[in-house]
């Protein structure tokens, strides 16, 4: 039998792969068809994208006052010293 439809396990793998590599067009189509019918795999795909965006987030929002704090002068000097000492 010709393998014409992905099951959830295959779709999950391919969805992940599609985030790291270019997939052939027929695989992309098979994924799309499956995602149209399967809310769980759809959620899975969205959640993987959320993971990607969440770890790439650079900082909390600019207007967010928390957490407050800055390096004390002493700490700053300590770190500079460590940096100096490790310079070749």
């Amino acid at each position: 039998m010709i393998h014409w439809m992905f099951n959830c396990k295959e779709v999950a793998k391919k969805v992940s792969l599609s985030m790291d590599a270019a997939l052939p067009i027929h695989h992309r189509m098979m994924i799309t068809i499956h995602l149209l019918m399967c809310k769980y795999c759809n959620r899975f795909r969205k959640q993987l994208m959320i993971l990607r965006h969440a770890v790439r987030l650079e900082a909390l929002s600019e207007d967010d006052p928390s957490p407050p704090g800055s390096l004390s002068k002493a700490t700053r000097e300590r770190i500079k010293k460590a940096v100096r000492e490790s310079l070749p």
């Binding site: 099951n7 992940s16 969440a54 390096l71 770190i79």
Partner: protein, 207 residues
Amino acid sequence: MSKNPSEMKAQIDNPENWVDEYGDFLYRYALARVKDPSIAEDLVQETFLAALKARRNFEGRSTARTWLIAILKHKIVDYIRKKVREQTSDKVESIFDAAAIDSGDTGFNGSGHWNNPPGKWAVNPTKLYEQKEFIDILYHCLGELPERQAKAFMMREIDGLSTDEICKALGISTTNSWVIVYRARILLRQCLEIKWLGTENYTAFKK
């Protein structure tokens, strides 16, 4: 405003200035994740030292700030991993232990259906920065991942490295890299669902 390459190079060549320019930003970022000021300070120092070692790799691909924060994120996860290991050695097993042993099984039954279908996540992807708890748990889960999986995942998603670069860094094949990153995603997703949605919700979704 973006800085031109020569300005960036001048910055990189003068590491002590990094501390003045990026120290507070890195410190606040670390503090938000690890909560402990002295640990946050240590992580900032480690970040600068690691950046110094690797500064030849920094070729103005990103801004210095982005580059430093990426290094810091690795340090934070390393710290959490160490802490998790200390806690789990005499307490409960990591939720990944079973999964790590049976790494061929990634949560599907014999006919390829989900054993535990993904639950609904009440998180707004455009407002992730507001979801502090979510980000906290995400970092914790990264710390719980098997080290190689966490590394590969972070190289891909935080550092934005290509599969080729990841393979070179970890000494693995292309296919291997895809599989490792896939497993990392599966386990991370699972960990977040358990720890963030809460066990009750999770059980409800099993039905």
